[in-house]
């Protein structure tokens, strides 16, 4: 693999006695989208802010193309924060113009407007924008300097499905153009669709990392079976399941074997549903394993 455009080496961040990030190693390559996943409080945002050079690490280093971060690093990155307000009284056009003026070279206004579909919004102030429109403006602001690296911190949080899909299309296009993208999201469907690689963070550490399809391929044999809760007492001893409302979710390594045992036990399978393992299942399985291990200890 070529040299990463951005690399974190043993990043640590302490706030007093609290360790928010406890030694993170991450590499990001041009033209790829890396998903940084984890529960709330896992240290994703602090990690990203150190990568963005907005916070100094307590230990470790961030390197750009193999060298320490240049003084004009901010000119090479685009940032879309999790929750950012736009200047109250400026129109979308004025805000774009302001941000373009803050960089030595900038994308053309027409290109930004077309890419983020802002044509109808240019004269509007932030208070009149919908959630999806606001996110598109924030994405346009992240792109005004034609960044090589784009940081997207939960870009589609709270958006309706169609607005999310519109943003995904823009992100896919940017990735195809060679932009390196670091994405955090709580939507596993989004991560599965957009990310080439996934890093899962827990308690300030990256606990699982790999290509998205590799993570999923570890579970190619497995299937997720959902059965009604009423069959719980009939399940053979030792069957692992998780309760999801009125349903039981069971990860089965070999579907044929499992079905045979359940039929032998006289379980009514007429309401059973079967699906492949998704990234969300991997994510949840990972955290339930961790919780179980912690419980054992």
């Amino acid at each position: 693999m070529s040299q990463p455009i951005l690399e974190a080496q043993n990043l640590v961040k302490r706030f007093g006695d609290v360790i928010a990030v406890a030694g993170v190693d991450i590499a990001l390559y041009s033209g790829e989208c890396l998903g940084l996943l984890g529960e709330n409080g896992a240290g994703k945002t602090t990690t990203i802010e150190m990568l963005e050079n907005l916070q100094d690490p307590s230990e470790g280093e961030v390197r750009y193309k193999g060298a320490p971060l240049p003084s004009n690093f901010a000119e090479r990155i685009g940032v879309m924060f999790q929750a950012t307000a736009l200047p109250d009284k400026l129109t979308v056009l004025e805000t774009l113009t302001l941000f373009r003026s803050l960089y030595p070279s900038a994308a053309s206004l027409d290109e930004l407007i077309a890419r983020c579909d802002l044509g109808d919004l240019l004269g509007q102030e932030p208070k009149t924008l919908s959630g999806g429109q606001r996110q598109r403006v924030l994405l346009a602001l992240a792109l005004v300097n034609q960044p090589e690296i784009l940081f997207l911190d939960e870009p589609t949080a709270g958006l309706d499905p169609s607005a999310r899909r519109r943003l995904w299309e823009i992100v896919k296009q940017l990735r195809a153009e060679g932009v390196a993208i670091l994405l955090t999201t709580h939507y596993m469907e989004e991560a599965e669709l957009l990310c080439d690689r996934i890093a899962i963070m827990q308690s300030g550490r990256v606990v699982n990392q790999g290509r998205t399809h590799e993570l999923l391929s570890r579970y190619t044999q497995e299937r997720i079976v959902e059965l009604p809760r009423r069959v719980m007492s009939q399940l053979p001893e030792g069957t692992q399941y998780s309760e999801q409302g009125d349903w039981l979710e069971i990860v089965v390594p070999d579907l044929n074997v499992a079905l045979g045992r359940w039929l032998d036990a006289g379980i009514d399978l007429r309401q059973m549903t079967i699906r492949a393992v998704s990234l969300e299942d991997v994510f949840l399985m990972h955290f339930s394993d961790q919780a179980a291990e912690a419980g054992d200890e």
Partner: protein
């Protein structure tokens, strides 16, 4: 200072001015509030003072005779001074009605003052003819309360606009993440602060000019000094108040704390800066504290320029203090400034 610095600064300044101009309610309040105050004071203190005021020397306090009878009168308030002739300016502005020197058998009056005319009649009646009284006359138009309070109201408006316009606005931007977003562009803190201060300063000076011209047109203030010097005084004062706003907001995280700090700083400044009334004769501690207030120095210098024709050289000490205050406080604010 390179071209990117200038372009960033200009862009931020322009945006801030646009935001301020579009915040119509605040803008109108900044213009209407001082007009409301001035008009109110003009009506409230329109009448003449009910009592006659005479300045007399301290050592005459125990003296008897015609002068005693003249001065010990319930209609007359006597301001006993070590150096009565230092009040000649006040006599010229009708702020006192007569100055007397019983030992020298002399008195001073303003020949344009009706009160002085009446007092002189009473004095001559009491003293009787052939007393060898020496009369000194001078001329001068009266200073109304509204004239006196006007420079203070302008100063007050400058102070509140600067503290809230820069201080509160910065904290709000910090809270809602706009500052963090700007930090991510690589814009330096110095560019950002310079732009904020520049934008507000420009707007403040335009507002002061509009207020000044508008109110002067209505009330015809007897301004005798240089408008250029006056503008310099207000410019320096505005810089000091903006610097104070920046310091208060430098690392404050919440709008509630920012409001508390602004009130905590502004109200003592208001009370100590002789905006509404003179602190002459106040406790020495108050007089000492007054000297520390940049607002007082600005207002005092503005009054001196407007009504005493003070020159730039005359107000240099006040200007020096105000500019020094602005530089020190701005440096401190810049050092403490945090994007988040």
């Amino acid at each position: 200072m390179n071209s990117l610095w200038l372009s960033q600064c200009w862009a931020l300044m322009r945006s801030r001015v646009l935001e301020m101009l579009r915040d119509r309610a605040t803008l109108m309040w900044n213009l209407v509030f001082p007009v409301f105050l001035i008009v109110s004071f003009a009506f409230a203190f329109d009448g003449q003072r009910a009592r006659f005021t005479i300045v007399a020397p301290q050592q005459f306090d125990l003296m008897t005779g015609g002068w005693y009878e003249f001065l010990h009168n319930s209609l007359i308030r006597v301001d006993w001074q070590d150096e009565p002739l230092e009040s000649l300016d006040k006599l010229a502005k009708h702020q006192v009605d007569m100055i007397v020197d019983p030992l020298g058998n002399a008195y001073w009056i303003n020949q344009n003052s009706a009160n002085a005319y009446l007092l002189e009649k009473v004095l001559l009646q009491i003293m009787g003819p052939n007393q060898g009284l020496v009369r000194h006359r001078l001329e001068g138009e009266p200073i109304r309360y509204v004239d006196w309070v006007f420079p203070g109201i302008i100063g007050l408006n400058l102070m509140f606009s600067a503290l809230w316009g820069v201080g509160y606005a910065l904290v709000r931007y910090r809270r809602n993440g706009v500052l963090k977003r700007l930090q991510a562009t690589g814009t330096s803190a110095s560019v950002f602060m310079f732009a904020q201060l520049g934008a507000r300063l420009g707007l403040l000076l335009v507002m002061v000019t509009v207020l000044f011209i508008g109110l002067d047109w209505v009330f015809e203030f007897p301004v005798v000094g240089s408008f250029g010097t006056l503008l310099l005084v207000y410019l320096a004062g505005a810089c000091a108040m903006l610097a104070l706003g920046l310091l208060l907001a430098a690392s404050t995280q919440s709008e509630e704390l920012a409001s508390g700090l602004i009130n905590f700083i502004s109200w003592p400044l208001v009370l100590l800066s002789e905006i509404w009334f003179s602190l002459e004769g106040a406790h020495p501690l108050v007089a000492g504290l007054k000297q520390a207030s940049p607002l007082w120095h600005m207002i005092d210098a503005a009054r001196a320029v407007m009504y005493d024709a003070a020159t730039l050289t005359d107000v240099l000490p006040q200007l020096g203090y105000v500019i020094g205050f602005a530089v020190v406080v701005m440096a401190l604010g810049a050092k403490l400034f945090k994007w988040r």
